[in-house]
């Protein structure tokens, strides 16, 4: 036991705590940045990429906290024990010296006694009661979240938003959030998902209680969660005012059917048969009588447009040259594998048939474009030296590389301010990259 204990005193990371924490932050940030790169390449705006990257990654603050416990937990305890041992040992030495000096006669017996107690001390299990000096500061979240319970307030404080995401997010049925603050200014706040954004940055006080209810509260404006998929301008899940939850209103508002859309199918959250309408019916007077309830899914379909899908699909082809390049680049290899994963996904979706397939097919089509763009860009980056070399004797390639350099020099401000700008910015790269690769093939093909 004591050997293991002593060894662990020397083996652990001896850098300052702040340095270790900063390293964890850097590492998590780098991961988020890589997800964002991937999403940007798929054509998302920087803001969308940021939001989606966080959704995929989870809350970095919560993960950093967990990392701290793993990396530093026993170290902090060991430091305390170390200090305690040092103090005891120092006291013992002084005590021994004094004793020795005063009464030499009893010294042998005392020495044995003290050293025995020193050994006993060193062998003692690291006791948990040696741990925190200040009481833990907790907040509580209960009800319709994935992991309800008490949460420790991290050193930088905890906002309502961070607490909810630490608890795994709201369940889909969440309707009302009660915030009971026991802080200096006691208060009770009732929030619905529609007005809670304004409270997201509220700094929670120790012992605050957040209760998430699946029932609407008459005192809060209430909203319901619905999903509209398929041939609409923006297929997604969202919260809507329950007063406006009528089929015709939704399709005339946030979710406008595409020109190709012909049918609308409602799958009720509570089960039961599908309800089917033509798009014209859904948008007319009849659609005004169709109420939508929380959790319902509305599919806007176009069997005609879907019938055309298979012929348009283009499978990815591995060329020997590309694969040779990919052998030296993990990133390129992943991009290729991911691009091919979309081929597989597409095929399995088509096999499963309509209507589940539909919304996803449209979105993987977009992702495929993004992946191909990324594959081209990676190739250009990897071939950079060779391209520079070839460009010395080829005017066309030189011009293309110059054009690419120009895009690279374009300040990102214009793309950050405008979503459309971001996409055309990336597409501009795509065109130049494709031209560079085509020219490269021509020059080296012979």
């Amino acid at each position: 036991m004591s050997r293991v204990f002593l060894r662990s005193l020397f083996v652990f990371d001896s850098r300052p705590v702040a340095e270790i924490e900063a390293e964890v932050r850097d590492e998590l940030d780098a991961h988020l940045a890589m997800i964002e790169d991937e999403l940007l390449a798929q054509g998302l705006s920087p803001q969308q990429a940021r939001v989606q990257a966080l959704a995929r990654f989870g809350d970095p603050a919560r993960i950093a906290l967990e990392a701290r416990t793993i990396k530093l937990g026993d170290r902090i305890m060991l430091q305390r024990i170390n200090l305690a041992l040092l103090v005891v040992f120092g006291a013992a030495v002084i005590f021994l010296l004094v004793q020795n000096h005063r009464i030499n006669t009893r010294s042998v017996a005392t020495l044995e006694q003290v050293s025995a107690s020193l050994v006993a001390l060193q062998n003692r299990e690291p006791a948990p009661q040696a741990a925190p000096a200040s009481p833990a500061k907790l907040v509580y979240i209960e009800g319709a979240v994935r992991s309800p319970g008490p949460y420790l307030i991290p050193p930088g404080g905890f906002t309502l938003k961070q607490l909810i995401s630490a608890a795994g997010g709201l369940k889909d049925g969440a309707q009302t959030i009660y915030l009971d603050s026991g802080g200096d200014d006691r208060m009770n706040v009732i929030l619905s998902p529609s007005n809670m954004e304004a409270w997201y940055d509220y700094k929670l006080q120790p012992d605050d209680v957040v209760t998430v209810s699946e029932r609407p509260d008459p005192r809060a404006p209430h909203r319901i969660h619905v999903s509209v998929q398929g041939y609409v301008n923006h297929p997604c899940d969202d919260w809507i005012e329950s007063s406006g939850a009528v089929l015709a209103k939704l399709l005339n508002g946030k979710w406008k059917p595409d020109k190709r859309a012909t049918r609308v199918v409602i799958r009720r959250a509570g089960g039961g048969p599908e309800e089917s309408f033509t798009v014209a019916e859904a948008l007319s007077q009849q659609g005004l009588t169709v109420r939508i309830n929380a959790g319902d899914v509305i599919h806007v379909l176009s069997p005609e447009a879907d019938a055309e899908v298979p012929s348009e699909w283009r499978r990815f082809v591995r060329t020997p040259r590309l694969m040779e390049l990919a052998r030296g680049s993990r990133e390129l290899m992943y991009a290729i594998e991911q691009r091919e994963a979309y081929d597989n996904e597409y095929e399995s979706l088509i096999k499963r048939g309509f209507p589940i397939a539909h919304g996803r097919v449209e979105s993987i089509r977009k992702s495929v474009g993004g992946m191909e763009l990324q594959i081209a860009a990676l190739q250009v980056v990897l071939l950079k030296d060779r391209l520079m070399e070839l460009a010395q004797s080829d005017q066309e390639l030189r011009d293309l590389l110059e054009r690419r350099a120009e895009i690279e020099r374009t300040p990102p401000t214009s793309m950050e301010s405008d979503e459309r700008g971001a996409f055309s910015f990336l597409s501009r790269y795509a065109e130049v990259d494709r031209a560079i690769l085509a020219r490269y093939e021509e020059l080296t093909g012979k």
Partner: protein, 119 residues
């Protein structure tokens, strides 16, 4: 609102085992490990990517992994993890354990009696 999470929850130890397996093919960073697991599982398992880090740190602390900062192909700074000999041994041991466990569980699920008791 984030989309509904339809991926099954991982049994304890599974994530660490998948991390070890991924790194047996060569050193990699957290993002790369997440992609590899996603691809290898046919997208059936998409983990919350941040949850990899507690697993990585635990493995590193146990001496199964070592890490160093490096530069990715896309010129980003990232921390690369690789297996130590100890980690390799653990992978072998854990894989065997996992296989025994999953065979046993699927046997129970399919009501197919174990060979010994069959005769």
């Amino acid at each position: 609102m984030p989309p509904k999470d339809s991926s099954p929850e991982l049994p304890p130890g599974a994530l660490e085992l998948m991390v070890l397996r991924t790194l047996a093919r060569g050193s990699n960073h957290g993002y790369g490990i997440a992609r590899a697991i996603e691809l290898a599982s046919g997208k059936a398992l998409s983990i919350e990517e941040g949850s990899l880090y507690p697993a990585l740190y635990r493995l590193e602390k146990r001496g199964d992994l070592k890490s160093e900062w490096g530069i990715t192909d896309a010129n980003r700074k990232a921390k690369f993890y690789s297996l130590t000999p100890r980690g390799r041994a653990r992978l072998k041991e854990q894989t065997a354990l996992w296989e025994r466990l999953s065979t046993a569980v699927s046997r129970v699920l399919t009501d197919d009696p174990a060979p010994e008791s069959a005769a």
